[in-house]
């Protein structure tokens, strides 16, 4: 049993390696994944009064969100359009393994993006990161969750424009409701309830705590757990959706 799991994981990894090769460096990924959230964020944070650790954590989170969903939302759709998806369907891998492979590609992409944004950001803002390991863990789980979200969109969508529209439909409201531009405490309480349903909220919170605190707090651990659950559930649902779509 454990061996079968390991073999599936290895195959998922090969799929992600292939995806990295084929899709990472396409221009739209960079524009949508990077320039857009950065400019969006700058526009809003100038307007609002927020402190540095909020800027650092909020900006990093939405860069991961936009970057990973940009590549993942089309990861399955593009392969359906070119016909290469048939290769994956004919191969001895489960839908879950296949989609995990797709999500892993986004996961690694997210890690790189986070490093690219976080390094200059801490230097410019003069932030001293309290515990780099906790920061890394928060980034990793955020990246996996948002990739899984993108994969779900991709499993559902029939073609690229639909996938892009759907992912925008999810990530823009999420960016506004998850405490990135505005601290949760300042939000009306009804919105606060909604924000607790959104994975970005947990990502921002975990990142902010790990930047400020050197030891993991209970909230931090809970955030990570919630992100892990989100990843798993999103992938399971995506596998089901894909199966439905192909019948």
């Amino acid at each position: 049993m454990a061996r079968i799991w390991l073999q599936s994981l290895i195959k998922a990894f090969y799929i992600s390696k292939k995806d990295a090769r084929v899709y990472y460096f396409k221009a739209p990924n960079f524009t949508y994944g990077f320039l857009m959230p950065v400019s969006l964020f700058i526009a809003f944070s100038i307007a609002g009064q927020i402190n540095t650790s909020l800027i650092v954590s909020g900006l990093t989170s939405i860069v991961i969100l936009f970057g990973t969903t940009s590549i993942e939302a089309v990861a399955v759709v593009l392969e359906k359009q070119t016909g290469t998806f048939e290769r994956l369907l004919a191969a001895p891998v489960s839908f879950f393994t296949l989609l995990l492979g797709k999500a892993l590609a986004g996961f690694f992409f997210g890690l790189v993006l986070a490093a690219v944004i976080l390094a200059p950001l801490t230097v410019i803002s003069g932030t001293v990161v309290a515990n780099p390991v906790l920061v890394f863990i928060a980034i990793a789980f955020s990246s996996l969750t948002f990739s899984a979200l993108g994969v779900l969109v991709s499993a559902y969508a029939k073609w690229t424009p639909e996938a892009q529209m759907l992912s925008n439909f999810l990530r823009f409201p999420m960016a506004f409701l998850s405490g990135t531009f505005l601290p949760l405490e300042l939000m009306p309480s009804q919105l606060g309830v909604i924000s607790r349903l959104l994975p970005l909220t947990y990502s921002v919170e975990a990142l902010r705590i790990s930047i400020n605190d050197s030891a993991p707090t209970f909230t931090y651990l809970l955030d990570i757990l919630v992100l892990a659950l989100f990843s798993f559930i999103l992938l399971v649902v995506a596998a089901k959706v894909l199966q439905r779509r192909l019948e």
Binding site: R21, T82, T84, A90, P92
Partner: protein, 326 residues
């Protein structure tokens, strides 16, 4: 004989459309099996069900002793698939495509390079192994797709119209490769709408029309179904539209037009030939050639499916103009 793939009562319905209708078939080890039928007959759907890419509405599909519905992953480990459209990655090299296929099928690491090299050499692609596949011709891509389907040494390979849309030369290369593969022991399941291709390659042929298998036998046995009919081919100069007049001749049951010749289906050739000579004289036509022929698989196909020979002719023209086999 050992059965490596089997369909029982296999059916697929798409929103009311019966794409495949209760088909039964068995493919034996080391066999070259053909599924022959016109466009929309249900060939692709059959392959997609047998290879676990789409779920049958009802019925059973067994491949390599595994039920494809209940143990899809186990079954897929033993199956190679070459779909209608080449499905290699344009952005990667030929080499990387093969290695990725090997990885997906769990080929042991130390075997991968050796197998990729062997296959590329065998398929005449080794010199181009480092090139982006996006720059390959259609024929080369098709060859690479077939190579990728073989990297895990499947016990059966499914090929969906592998020569459709290729130029004459590339199609011939593919057919020769497939013959060679089969000689080396690989079981092949091929779909095609080229009657001559099926005749030339396959040991047994299932004829499919509107989702149903209407005949399943060796090409020779299928031809024997129309043995009692003789065929006489004649061409006249000047060439004219003579179908109607020829059909009116005694002993002639049907007439079709093949290239510049008329094909006459008759009961007895020796009675019809003198009539044709008279016919030419009366109409001031010179007989350019006259041949009697054994019935072809096309004749059998026409008889079995009830499709007119012209329909199959236009079908062929449509896919590839004037392709000749070789």
């Amino acid at each position: 004989m050992e059965v490596v793939a089997k369909a029982q009562y296999l059916t697929k319905r798409y929103h009311g459309v019966l794409a495949v209708d209760r088909i039964d078939l068995e493919v034996y080890r080391s066999e070259f099996f053909g599924l022959l039928g016109p466009n929309s007959a249900g060939k692709t759907t059959t392959i997609r069900m047998l290879t676990g890419q789409t779920k049958p509405t009802s019925g059973v599909a067994i491949v390599a002793d595994y039920d494809i519905i209940h143990q899809p992953i186990k079954a897929k480990e033993h199956v190679g698939v070459v779909p209608e459209a080449s499905n290699v990655y344009d952005e990667m090299s030929a080499w990387d495509n093969l290695i990725f296929a090997a990885e997906l099928y769990g080929v042991p690491r130390k075997e991968r390079n050796k197998r990729a090299k062997d296959l590329l050499e065998r398929f005449g692609l080794y010199e181009r192994r480092g090139d982006r596949v996006g720059n390959f011709s259609k024929g080369m891509k098709r060859r690479l797709t077939i190579a990728a389907a073989l990297i895990h040494r499947p016990c059966i390979v499914f090929l969906d119209e592998p020569t459709t849309g290729l130029d004459v030369q590339s199609a011939r290369i593919i057919r020769n490769l497939l013959k060679e593969l089969n000689r080396s022991g690989v079981t092949i399941f091929l779909t095609t709408h080229y009657i001559e291709e099926a005749d030339q390659l396959c040991q047994r042929i299932a004829i499919i029309n509107q989702g149903r298998i209407v005949a399943l036998d060796s090409p020779e046995k299928l031809k024997a179904l129309v043995e009692e009919r003789h065929v006489v081919e004649v061409s006249f100069s000047p060439a004219k539209d003579l179908d109607g007049q020829l059909k009116g001749l005694k002993h002639v049951s049907d007439v079709s037009w093949v290239g510049d010749r008329f094909r006459l289906y008759v009961e007895d050739a020796s009675e019809v030939i003198p009539l044709l000579i008279d016919f030419g004289r009366e109409n001031k036509l010179r007989i350019v050639s006259i041949n009697t022929m054994k019935p072809s698989l096309e004749d059998a196909f026409v008889k079995i499916t009830g499709l007119s020979p012209e329909v199959m002719a236009t079908e062929k023209e449509h896919a590839k103009k004037g392709e000749s086999l070789g």
